[in-house]
Amino acid sequence: MELTVQSLAPQQRYARWLRWSTRLSVALLVLGYAAYVSGLLPAHVPIENLPQLWSLPAGRFLQETGVKPGWGWASFLPNGDMVVLAAIALLISTSILCLAAVIPLFRQRGERLFVGICILQILVLALAGSGLFSVR
């Protein structure tokens, strides 16, 4: 029942990776947003048009702004609004990095079940991010 130092190793490594990846993505989000609203970076969707667009459903918004679903937004980088989306995508994906970082530790300890769970979770997140699942 007692927790050993070894059994805490994946948890400690996950925490370290989580701390730095979250800090990096939040810093990018803040800087990207500042550059976007200050006009330092141009916007794909003019900011002053947003009040007419943000009350539309997401599908209509995409149609009106000429952005394709999935990763279509990435083709409009480095516009400011898309830089913010890139920072958001990074923030959402931090757990993929953290999971990948702990797999070798679980493998060293012969914990195949947890290696499998981590790999499956990464696959699920990759599938969710791939745009294969869509309502459009």
């Binding site: 029942m1 007692e2 927790l3 994946p10 948890q11 400690q12 996950y14 925490a15 370290r16 989580l18 979250t22 939040v26 989000l29 803040v30 990207g32 947003y33 976007y36 609203v37 900011i47 002053e48 947003l50 009040p51 943000w54 009350s55 459903p57 997401a58 599908g59 918004f61 995409l62 952005v67 679903p69 999935g70 990763w71 937004w73 609004d81 898309m82 913010v84 989306l85 958001i88 995508a89 923030l91 959402i92 994906s93 931090t94 757990s95 702990v102 079940l113 947890f114 769970i117 499956l120 979770q121 699920v124 997140l125 599938l127 969710a128 991010g129 699942f133 869509s134 309502v135 459009r136």
Partner: protein, 289 residues
Amino acid sequence: MMATLASLGATAPWWAWPLALFIACFFLGIVAVPAGVGGGVLFVPIIAGFFPFHLDFVRGAGLLVALAGALSAGPRLLEGGLANLRLALPFALVSSISSIGGALLGLSLPTAIVQTALGVLILGILLLMARAKNSEIPRVDAPDVLSQTLQLHGVFRDGSSGREIEWRAHRTPLGLFLFVFIGIIAGMFGLGAGWANVPALNLVMGIPLKVAAGTSSFIISPAAALVYLNEGALLPMIAAPSVIGMMLGARVGGYVLNIVRASVIRRLVMALMLFAGIRALAKGLGVWN
């Protein structure tokens, strides 16, 4: 008040609403920590009820707010032993898969139906908050086979008593089953799932309350947020000020917890949720637009 807000929406400069959103999220962040609720469960009904943004964008931002809060608190919880990675991973996997289904369902249903269901859900969560009697350290006589296989046990040091407390899980298959539904609801409505994760881990699986609350943040799945991103339901002008405001507010909330009684804040939050739940229900039914 609604007419005033609507007229403000039509005439205000573009920056007025994002600024109002930032300020609202800052205050939501302050009260969310002492009240012991995730940001998402407050954010979605309040912002959807009183701001001019479409529910799709509010749900997308709600997931992001819940995720950002969980990610920023995560390292400290893991290092302090108040969150358990082994416990979180199997449940995060199950709720990830189901939250994708929930997100797709939520984005394909008519807005009025989702809005009405959101009102019912918020009022239901309120009832759960008022009635559920979480157990500080539940008694677990015998762990089940799955819990033993996954080694769902551990030790944590209780800061208030200074004691080291051993814990283990039971009823793991039932817990996994519950997390399928929790994931669907979280993905569908853009809520974080702490309101459901904590009772499921604590009351059903026998995890001590502090470990359940700490681990709960790791079961908030980013999978649904990725679906919202793909579907164009994450609008930078809404998502960024929400996340930044909520994260700054949560830092202040940590200090507020030391000077204001948590029960007072909790009552305030429950009153806010009651109002927002009624508003969501009425908006969905078309009786208060």
